[in-house]
Symmetry: C2
Subunit: 131 residues, 2 copies
């Protein structure tokens, strides 16, 4: 289990994070994502039709920037490898949806499915410049 700093533990339950992968051209690709802190780990539910999923299959590492909704000067960067597990039955997606009061299935095109992405951090970097 990752040792997240006490000073930034509240951000593990923050509403949104910036998630970055690396494209085939070597250029980072970033989007805002929902995420879930569960069993001490940071996890995402990704649709398997998305670019970020395909990036992770080929280059299984990422950065997740947990944003403080109240301050642009405080955040937690988590860099690391990813572990990808199937979530065809949407069990994990359901737990993410519960955090957000949403039915994740509504966002998915027919014929697509979901995976659970678990981040295995190699670096955790807390930032607080709120003074």
């Amino acid at each position: 289990m990752t040792d997240f700093p006490d000073s930034h533990r509240d951000l593990l339950d923050a509403p949104v994070a910036a998630f970055s992968t690396v494209g085939a051209d070597g250029i980072p690709q970033s989007t805002l994502v929902w995420f879930l802190h569960e069993d001490g780990e940071l996890k995402l539910s990704l649709n398997n039709s998305r670019v970020k999923y395909r990036n992770l299959l080929k280059r299984p590492h990422c950065s997740l920037l947990l944003l403080d909704p109240n301050s642009q000067y405080r955040y937690l960067e988590v860099r690391g490898q990813v572990r990808i597990d199937p979530d065809d039955d949407y069990v994990f997606a359901g737990r993410v949806g519960a955090k957000y009061g949403a039915d994740v299935r509504e966002y998915d095109a027919p014929g697509t499915s979901r995976v659970m992405v678990t981040i295995e951090p190699t670096r955790v970097y807390p930032v607080d410049m709120t003074g």
Copy 2:
């Protein structure tokens, strides 16, 4: 000059963006940054002692996610190459500081300097899920 979508032009003057580079280990590195929209281009002032500057010297591409301070469901991703110009006299840093009402020099350790990073977009991707 880049053709930014009208729907997201306000974000070109947003207060903060998530900036991602790629580390030597291939893992994305992300931080929140100040930026300036000037002469139709997106530019950052970086201290030359920072990891992201060293990443850009070796891997001159990035992603910049312009965040809507009022909604986590609306943002503009700009991916591309970067052009790096010296800013030893802090002329550009001064213009960034003016946007934020800050003296950028106060953040810099003695013996360090600044560069101006200009993004040359290869992809501009607007997101609006505010419904």
